[in-house]
Symmetry: C2
Subunit: 342 residues, 2 copies
């Protein structure tokens, strides 16, 4: 609403002059410093509002020796060609952006080829930000640990591996892998494949959950049924084709992501197999398209937006000097038609 008057207020001094007080008093008044009398404080805050004056954040940050910037690093494995267009990332980014905005922080977006995470140290990403959020730890646990050593505020979305010096927020990967596999087993499937690369701890945990569920049914993971492909879909397609054509028995597939699952479904259909009649498929992430594929995709839902918020609260907590524990978010099996149920 702000009814601006004629006088332009460009900085704190102007405001102070207008109110007939010193810059110092104006500063304290706007910051609700209790040492200032209520009368003065209200007067100044009202004046500021009515003149549409808001403090110069950059100057403030400069004086306070902070940046009000949190950097977000997407770990990219160039080799495996996983890239940011996976819808999963954007959901998470949305959650992060919202949470940061609420706390008056800016977002510095970067993506790092996993080979040189340490390079970030000489980069604005880490030098000129108050904290860093890593999305995915890829295979760089060691490097991340090194970064954590030099007392940076950082949090990683990934898997709580042993002997780590950084804080981790994770989904329940083992639980997710277990739940989806168990679901397929309960539907009577026995020849269950695992599709997706396990070269990072998160997927490895999902694979463990998968093995655990199989074990409970007296089965073990037949390596022939494990397609250890990166996220890149051309490759996945080829490998699945080879596998089916080489006659390996298969009546279900657990996939490490919805994108892999959707590609899997379309590959299977192309090969003349019916989903879920011949092969049931379960994905991971519940991206928005999952409900609209044909057949609709059974998947593991992680509340990714919420995860983004948790990540933010974690870094900000560290900045405040708090001791921040790891967090694991529950995941949920969303049953749709592709798994044969529904």
């Amino acid at each position: 609403m702000a009814k601006p008057t004629d006088t332009k207020i460009a900085n704190l001094q102007d405001l102070a002059d207008l109110a007939g007080v010193s810059r110092a008093t104006a500063s304290r008044a706007l910051n609700d410093n209790p040492v200032i009398s209520e009368k003065t404080r209200e007067k100044l805050q009202a004046l500021a509002k009515s003149h549409g004056y808001s403090i110069n954040q950059k100057a403030r940050d400069f004086r306070l020796q902070r940046t009000s910037v949190i950097s977000v690093v997407f770990m990219l494995d160039i080799a495996s060609e996983q890239h940011m267009s996976d819808p999963f990332f954007l959901d998470m980014l949305g959650g992060i952006a919202d949470a940061l905005a609420e706390h008056n922080y800016d977002l510095l977006l970067a993506h790092a080829p996993v080979e040189d995470v340490l390079e970030l140290r000489n980069n604005r990403v880490m030098q000129q930000s108050d904290g860093t959020i890593f999305i995915g730890q890829a295979q760089q646990h060691g490097q991340l640990n090194e970064l954590a050593e030099d007392d940076t505020n950082m949090v990683v979305w990934g898997y709580p591996v042993r002997d780590k010096s950084y804080v981790v927020v994770s989904g329940d990967n083992a639980g997710g892998g277990y739940a989806s596999t168990k679901h397929l087993l309960e539907l009577g499937r026995r020849q269950i494949a695992f599709f997706g690369s396990v070269d990072n701890p998160e997927n490895a945990a999902r694979h463990e959950g998968y093995l655990k569920a199989l074990g409970e049914y007296g089965l073990d993971g037949n390596p022939e049924r494990m397609v250890d492909v990166p996220f890149e879909m051309h490759r996945a397609r080829e490998v699945i084709k080879e596998m089916v054509e080489s006659g390996i028995d298969l009546d279900a597939a657990v996939c490490v992501s919805d994108v892999v699952a959707l590609a899997t479904i379309s590959t299977l259909q192309e090969l003349g197999l019916e989903v879920p009649k011949d092969v049931a498929v379960v994905g991971y992430d519940d991206i928005s398209l999952a409900a609209y594929s044909n057949p609709p995709l059974t998947t593991i839902r992680q509340n990714i937006r919420h995860a983004g918020r948790i990540l933010v609260e974690s870094v900000l907590g560290q900045i405040q000097g708090e001791h921040v524990p790891d967090t694991m978010l529950a995941s949920e099996l969303v049953i749709r038609k592709s798994s044969g149920a529904g």
Copy 2:
């Protein structure tokens, strides 16, 4: 590789002391100011490098009265529930982030409910950034214009509507709509529907292209075959169902996005129709999943990452005081099986 010695260099003064020059000289030397002798310059730059000193960007920005921040605003139409998880957005964001990083700018991410775009004026988004990139103009052309009036550096990804005061980067929407429709016509389809809301100028332009192609074949757009639904997919599904069930003739559909197209395909399949045999479908955007759906989706490809770069160059150009013209990016028809070709 920086071989740090014992002396810690925290600021320019330290560096100057070490080199035995004044702070002023050090500053100019690092900024390649020609008034400094080559000898001195090289000495200081070498010293800075060997001690791992890099300038404090925030202090520099403060002094230079700038922010080194560009804000990116995603226009969200809450009502229509279009949200950031559309993969399209992330690709563009990636392009923007990369380009900004190259120019040493930070990215401030925000999304604005379209109702109160003007609110951004009192927000860090516009107050504490050097420029703003809007993704999508939704129905807020007027408000964007108002923002543009008060000499902000801004560029909009959208459609070059008439009488606008802001710079626009756009895809060739009319051309895209025309190309996809013409493709279907050439394949012999005549009952071509248009799926997607035209409440924003971009989609309206695609619709115009659609009509133009139909016109060339002596057809006109039967309003019954136009499904004016927002991006939200539940609704789309219902409406398509109603339409098919009410017996409207239909042998092809032009969709305003791949997400709509994929939902359309799965709805049609659910209704017992074959794609592309009974109904051919064309999407828009060429998101990564488009190639992996079943059948693979024919679509219009826009080089979205590149568009991101153009957007960045446009704002940065404005900051430099250049006159920046609008840009239109070519689009390309990617033919896959869903259209009946392939």
